[in-house]
Symmetry: C2
Subunit: 484 residues, 2 copies
């Protein structure tokens, strides 16, 4: 405890001294900055407690944190420190901590934890979260952990795992509150009080079902709470938005976002209620899908916060090699025009500008298209209008840039420029390339979407190739035509 | 109804015929595809009803839709059709429809709607949504609409508008359920039943407050519902995560995501409860912030689905012009090396590849850094380690690419290549540029974040400039050193 105090600021020092005998809430205040991120000083305190072998202090520091913050803390520690912290974790919180962890870390912790401990920890989680963790185990361990679990939990998890990854079936919990139409509000509330453990820990809607267990309506529990006890559920219920169990998670997220849902019933192919999805899982999906789009547009898969250098190289190098191939193809044609370039080196200077501007215009159009596709603002119903609009934008932007750059070329290269021919070459090439960029940037993702592929992945490689190629060729071809 | 039927597929035709006398639910089934996006056929049906002057049919078609779908529909119609539809909208749903609309459309509809109608429509909304719409009105109309509203609603909206845009104060509703610690579960439920209209339409937590109205805990209403009536709130309540009223909405979203919150109490600078934020508003924030990052990285501001060509040109041209300037600066140095290029045109072919690969490597590193900053995986606590890791990744990727491209250069340019010098030039230049890209791609957003700026905006322009510049200069400088 000496080293970290010396490094703390005065303010933090006061707090740290105070916290020596402090309640967990005070420690939590110290742990998190105003922005709810872990304080670097707190991480230092944990490291010092571990260094000095003060297990009691370490347990206290870690125990004061919420599961999500413990997961964060683990990410800031090196693996030697993590090994000291893991045995100190509250077994009840362990499941949640594991489910909050970054994938690389999770694997390490899962390996280090005995199967029986894991089984107990996972039983505390909702089925969807537990299944997620189980899915990350190797076959032997998965078998051991499932065998160590209670019958009911095991069956629930095995059913969840039988659905494909990234579908509603994987996101849903199998615990929910359903009631028949003829029940009254009062009867339903009494039922909830008696049912106890068979209900999920948190729920937000009562699903009203018909005798064949098909959902016919939903009632927010805040409405149930404020209704007179004798009101029948049939008179309270509102229309319900059902989710098909095989639906892709991106679709599910779209529906939650569009209709501002807090929870929704999941139905099987026969329309029968089999589970519910709650909005907290959807928040994660929306963030993950948006992140996936950002990374895909940048041509990189994320290796995670705790990835090694080799993990990251594996995630990035293949895209760069692909880019090397496409750039080489785009440039190879330039060799044909070696004479032009040797004659007029200005071409070598202007070519990269034309292709760089094309690349950026293509990325703009692509990013807007990918976003519009994800939010279904761009659909088959308006694709024609939106493509035509991109075409016009490409022409207008191309003309404006051509005027500016043509003018600049004329001024800069003055005498070298054969009666403004260079300015004309550059201007025409720019219009061509910006136009190509705008059209390619919208058609590539549209085509991928139509083929049922992810429009973000590989669109950007294609569009970059297109604008590189067009950039070089437009300049050199127009030069060949005008200069001889 | 004739034209659109001719254009429908057989399946849709059956449905359409069926729907002639159909219940609204059947119409809704017809309106939405399996993916819950509006069917193009349904839009056609609306257009045909408008064309044939069949107001009753039009009213029926529009009335069958949820507010979010009406907002979508408006986006698919041209403004002449919109003007026919607006007067048919249910006044009770009008507020919600307006608040779901794209900004460009919303302005048009707001202008076309009388102030008194607007005032009534907005009174139906939660304060945060109503304030959002009011904020879009011009000064005169805002004054008129506010004057036409009830005293209480007006005061609530004016208070909300007094908070800065994109803060917790703007997101929160001023309606919530608070109760003192000494109340019992039963008493609280009875209070809810009696309180009626002063409560929000939907709520998910009871906030437990001390006598000074500071939140001391929260109770999910599903827990309240299952507790015994005589249990005191003090014994039920859990720790509460408070949101400061001036907190930036991105921070609020981070907290909701991290702790899986459904609702959270908002407190003023004195720590007193002033409102609540619910997760449905946060879903929108998360999506919007992620979209803003995608667009910022691509150097484009989104003009919205219903933007005109001029709107879009305005959103994109400035970035392209800036890019023209930076690219020109990067390339201008090439002029100094005109003799080298004239001597060895291969340089002009290889330079763009080196700078294109650098640009892509920089974008990769940038996208990962922006994502990690947004999710607070990259903080001051681990910045040093992450930067060092990027440095290693840059070196490894650079060396791999240098080997591949150097080898290819040696094979392709064989005789022209002066004893492999060209291969060495390209290889060295690539290592330099990929390294620069990796380091610039992480340092630029880190520096912007530290200065309190948005790391996504302007990072990409800077990194592209850096790698363009380095790409050209590395090739030409190394060539100048090795070839003479």
């Amino acid at each position: 405890m000496t080293r970290d105090i010396a490094e703390l600021t005065d303010d933090a020092l006061d707090k740290a001294l105070l916290s020596q005998a402090a309640l967990p809430e005070d420690l939590e205040d110290l742990a998190l900055g105003d922005d709810y991120a872990l304080n670097p000083e707190y991480v230092e305190m944990v490291i010092d407690a571990a260094d000095s072998g003060n297990t009691e202090r370490l347990r206290e520091l870690v125990g004061a944190l919420e599961p999500a913050d413990v997961a964060d803390l683990m990410g800031f520690l090196s693996s030697a420190y993590r090994e000291e912290v893991i045995p100190l974790l509250d077994p009840e919180a362990l499941g949640e901590i594991i489910s909050e962890m970054d994938e690389n870390l999770r694997e390490e912790i899962l390996e280090a934890t005995p199967s029986v401990t894991l089984a107990r920890a996972l039983e505390e989680l909702d089925t969807d979260d537990a299944a997620d963790v189980i899915d990350d185990l190797d076959d032997t361990k998965r078998y051991q952990v499932l065998a160590a679990m209670g019958e009911i939990d095991r069956a629930a998890i095995e059913t969840t795992l039988s659905y494909e990854d990234e579908t509603a079936g994987r996101l849903m919990q199998r615990e929910f509150l359903a009631a028949p139409e003829f029940w009254t509000a009062g009867h339903t509330i009494d039922h909830v009080r008696e049912a106890g453990d068979s209900l999920p820990e948190l729920f937000f809607d009562v699903y009203v079902v018909d005798p064949t267990y098909k959902p016919v309506g939903a009632i927010p529990i805040s409405l149930l709470l404020r209704s007179r006890r004798e009101t029948r559920l049939a008179d309270l219920m509102e229309a319900v938005t059902e989710i098909q169990v095989e639906m892709d998670q991106e679709e599910v997220a779209y529906i939650f976002d569009k209709y501002h849902l807090i929870s929704a019933p999941v139905v099987d192919s026969g329309g029968r209620l089999v589970g519910q999805i709650t909005v907290d899982d959807i928040v994660e999906v929306i963030r993950e899908e948006a992140e996936a789009d950002i990374l895909a547009l940048a041509g990189v898969s994320d290796a995670g916060r705790d990835a090694t250098v080799i993990d990251i190289v594996r995630a990035r190098l293949p895209w760069l090699l692909l880019n090397l191939v496409t750039a080489s193809i785009a440039v190879s044609g330039v060799a044909v025009f070696q004479d032009q370039i040797a004659q007029l080196v200005a071409l070598a200077i202007l070519m990269p500008i034309v292709s760089s501007l094309g690349g950026n215009a293509g990325t703009q159009s692509l990013a807007v298209a990918v976003r519009a596709l994800a939010s279904k603002e761009l659909t088959t119903a308006n694709a024609r209008r939106i493509v035509l609009r991109e075409v016009s934008v490409g022409l207008v932007n191309g003309l404006c840039l051509a005027l500016v750059m043509g003018g600049a070329t004329y001024l800069v290269f003055g005498p070298e420029d054969q009666h403004g021919k260079l300015a004309i070459i550059v201007g025409l090439a720019l219009v061509t390339n910006i136009f190509t960029a705008a059209v390619g940037g919208i058609l590539a993702p549209l085509a991928l979407e139509k083929m049922g592929r992810d429009p973000a992945v590989s669109s950007s490689i294609f569009v970059t190739f297109l604008t590189d190629f067009t950039g070089f060729f437009a300049v050199l071809l127009i030069a060949a035509l005008l200069l001889n």
